[in-house]
Symmetry: C2
Subunit: 270 residues, 2 copies
């Protein structure tokens, strides 16, 4: 049985989506049709959404699930009255927090993903630009200015991980691809050695690597299993010599890899 | 008065951080010291964190705020017993959802940001790679394969927005920078006209643009206010002829801009 899920918010809807998605991940066996509904910031828009809820009910034969982060009481009430299973995600948290902090909540929507602190927003955008212009080892002399440097063989996940680290955590991230040249002399350039303290190595199972490379250059030597096995093995030898943390990207998402890196950089707790 | 905030999770901590950050945005006047604590997945790590809570209490003179998404009862209890104001973010939602869905929750942590659906994860990674290789109008012939094409003057926010759309929503995003050449003939190449249905124009106030360009090339004609005014004015004329949606990036974050674009693409509701 399919259930429709609406992520609803007066502003971007990112919090409703993240939190709702997490809650649904506890019920993976079910089939959810997810609909993203930001900017429901007038009663008229709420009424239009209630109409869509009814359509979902008629289609699915079950009421839709609504994950919402509404701050306006009137708009929230319109949604609650719709034919849906309504979960207000802020409810139950804001009032106790207000008591604990000794302060009334602003009740303003859209603050979480707005530019409330220009300096930290600018830092994030600069980190993204840094990651863009320091991808693929273009400027190893720039590693000095990086917060994080990733090292790995071609297609091991360096680029998307760097971009995630920059975008989500504002970390200036660069990466260095291990090439034939490095393998032949079994060493990396001095700039990589010099950035050892901020270096994280990515590894990947050869079978998985083969699949990814095959997508890129079908039938090439580059994509052969033998080459993938050799590359990852030689990379491991270099990682051991560098003595840096190694993260396996075979079955971990960029979010998971990034959380390990950020934890290692910011808060060591073991 | 400063308060320390811990975002705690057995896995990536992204949900705890997103939701906690949203809740705190209701209390912007306060000074929060935010600490990111993923991978608290053993009782030993929870005890170490309780120790850090105590240090925060001693330093701030007030108990720290903890936003947590714990699924293991024993680990959660260790944290609850610490000297903190503990908010369990999943509590109150999972049980009612289980009743509504007629299914027991898996109680497995870390599913939300894991690769649970390889096909949709691969689609996101491909979208990121697409955005990387279609930045800055490098390949207008590729606009055919894009879900979204952004157009704007240099430094109007095209690149970070494209990357966010790819990373967060899995949208294949390309962008086209308006240059002197376009302004001189007061037109854009046929590839841009051909992708009109998926085109979004970015605009920015000239004063803000000047500040950003000044960072990049201080004292240049490129960064002068006159040039910024002329570029944005000429861009507006082209946008009107193209008749495409125009989004202002002056005070909107990449998250806010992206939510407007995704809404326009996926769900029209007005």
């Amino acid at each position: 049985m399919r259930r429709t899920v609406f992520y609803v918010s007066e502003s971007t809807g990112i919090t409703a989506e993240t939190m709702g998605h997490s809650l649904l991940s506890q019920f993976e066996a079910l089939d959810f049709q997810q609909v993203y509904m930001p900017h429901i910031n007038t009663e008229a828009r709420a009424h239009a959404l209630v109409q869509r809820m009814q359509e979902a009910f008629d289609r699915d034969g079950a009421r839709p699930i609504v994950f919402a982060t509404m701050l306006d009481d009137r708009i929230r009430q319109v949604l609650r009255d719709g034919n849906c299973f309504y979960m207000e995600l802020f409810e139950g948290f804001i009032e106790p927090l207000a008591v604990e902090l000794g302060m009334a909540p602003s009740r303003q929507s859209g603050r979480s993903h707005a530019i409330t602190k220009p300096s930290s927003y600018t830092k994030r955008i600069e980190a993204i630009n840094f990651a863009m212009s320091n991808d693929d080892g273009i400027r190893p002399d720039n590693f000095d200015h990086a917060d994080v440097v990733l090292i790995g063989v071609s297609r091991s996940g360096k680029t998307p991980t760097c971009l995630y680290l920059a975008m989500h955590y504002g970390l200036r991230s660069a990466n260095y691809p291990l090439t034939e040249e490095d393998f032949d002399r079994d060493d990396v350039p001095p700039e990589v050695w010099a950035s050892r303290r901020k270096l994280f190595a990515l590894t990947i199972d050869p079978q998985r690597l083969q699949l990814i490379r095959e997508e890129r250059r079908p039938g090439s030597d580059y994509a052969s299993l033998a080459r993938c096995q050799l590359d990852t093995k030689r990379a491991q030898a270099i990682y051991r010599r560098l003595d840096v943390p190694v993260l396996n990207t075979t079955s971990q998402s960029i979010e998971e890899i990034s959380s390990h890196i950020v934890k290692a950089i910011r808060n060591k707790i073991d």
